[in-house]
Amino acid sequence: MLFTSYEFIGFTAILLFVYYLIPQKYQWMLLLLFSYIFYYMADPAYLIYILTTTITIYFTACLIEKNADRQSAFLKQHKETLLRDEKKAYKDGQKRIRRRTAGLCILLNIGILAAVKYTNFLIGNVNGMLQAFGQEKQLSFVSLVLPMGISFYTFQAIGYLVDVYRGTVRAEKNPLKFALFVSFFPQLVQGPISRFGDLSKSLYEKHSFDSKAVCFGLQRILWGFFKKLVIADRILTGVTTIISDIDTYNGVYAFVGMVFYTLELYADFSGGIDITIGIAEALGITVQENFNRPYFSKSLKEYWRRWHISMCSWFRDYIFYPVSASKAMQKFSKFARKHWGDSIGKRLPVYAATFIVWFATGIWHGANWNFIVWGLANWCVLMISEELEPAYMQFHNRFHLDKKPAYKLFQTARTFLLVCCLNMFDCYSSVAETFRAFGTMFTAGNWGVLREGALLNLGLSMLDYGILVFGVIVLLAVSLVQRSGSVREKIGRKPYPIRVCLWFGMFLLIILLGAYGVGYDSSQFIYNRF
């Protein structure tokens, strides 16, 4: 059931109606029921996977917490009798048990994710190597179900388990409530990857009907539909045309394609997240924001603080910090300091941990070398920027350009183009094709075709371009206004007739300008496949 389908709109409308009709203590149960119906309707086989993750993580978290509580009670009871070293040995022993228990459960769940997502990727690579060594024998690919949203809910559930292990949240005792945290349907498909400490505050609460919250939620959903149907799904035709035939559409077309794709990706993904947050808001539930106007960033580092925030912070808290703070990494740091000096010794652990994070980020996005190279390309740019930081500082201090609006605009445009280039790995079918398409931008010499109306050969008419330009201007204007606070709050302060006109106008725009129906494929949100 797609977010942009009539079925989904009906499904959400029924939920909202019943949600505020039933006694409030049953609201979270209704959400659980609807979440499982949503997942069941996608494919009944998916339920096995989500239930396995839910059950294993639920019990492991309870076991870990029980062990931690037992430890506290024991230490309290023997406070006077135990020596300092005995206490430390006991605590270390118990911690080791908890770490191994959590580790096994994480391994199992990552194992499931890896098996369904990466088995065929691995077989493909083994076959490639066999061929390279002159072996005729090839392994057969296997047919596996890839459950919808598995990357998202697995990470969300693992994050919860680590939080319980670290003692930052208490384990949820009610298995059904925990099942809702894992399966909450608006965010099941493409995130955000919520933290238990944040989402649980409002997920299980009783919610009275609040007309403002429902109204704001519906407005946010409408805005999500605008981004998805008016911008993303309309520009999709142009992107598909360009990337499907690199021999015809190279040079300037490849440039246009990468810019179009970058716009499509943002409109599609952030539009989907708007719908998710809007539904949650209408239900009285707070889901964390996943974007903070990323294309306004002035560096790639800043961009990654503002794009897909929940995923980036997940990788930071559960991979980057544990890896860089690990004993092995600290030993490596000491070794590096001793042999190569303080300066390199300080930086190497950061670079090594960041390399692991970007490799993981790449492969998380898909079982494909394109994504791995995309991740590592991001890592390279970030590390080069880090190395050049002192030079930048010197340059800025000398010329005082960083405060000038024109220079800020230049930095923003430069970062946007950099992101466009990196996103090319996501578009083309292989790494080689990506590099070939990128190279043609400098070698094809066909920039003159723009004057001959070349853009009209991409399956988009003048009307399509008109709508796209309008859509992007609206998106840009809203983003600019957002910098000084919530747009909906601002509209909410306007007189009633203006508010009605604005939101009804938005609704009409989606109906009139949205790319849906016959001839359009609004079949997937891009991030559904991750």
Binding site: K88, K301, D317, Y321, P322, Q330, K334, R347
Partner: protein
């Protein structure tokens, strides 16, 4: 405390670490700084800051960070 202040000021010479108490919330220290800090603290104070200690409360000010180091020294 002086040793810690010296480590911090090497990271960001322009910040007054004795008074600043929003190092994380104010986005003065980023994840790269934190990892560099952990490595430096491990070298100078011979304590191990593990991932579970990396929370804003422990890194928002030099004072909070020093309290963490003292706690870890006591434990170790």
């Amino acid at each position: 405390m002086d040793k810690l202040l010296q480590i911090l000021s090497e990271l960001h010479p322009d910040i007054d670490f004795e008074t600043q108490d929003k190092l994380i919330d104010g986005m003065i220290l980023d994840s790269f700084d934190i990892v560099t800090l952990i490595s430096e603290i491990s070298e100078v104070f011979d304590v191990t800051i593990s991932a579970e200690h990396i929370i804003p409360d422990n890194f928002n000010s030099a004072r909070a960070l020093y309290a963490l180091i003292q706690q870890l020294e006591d434990e170790e």
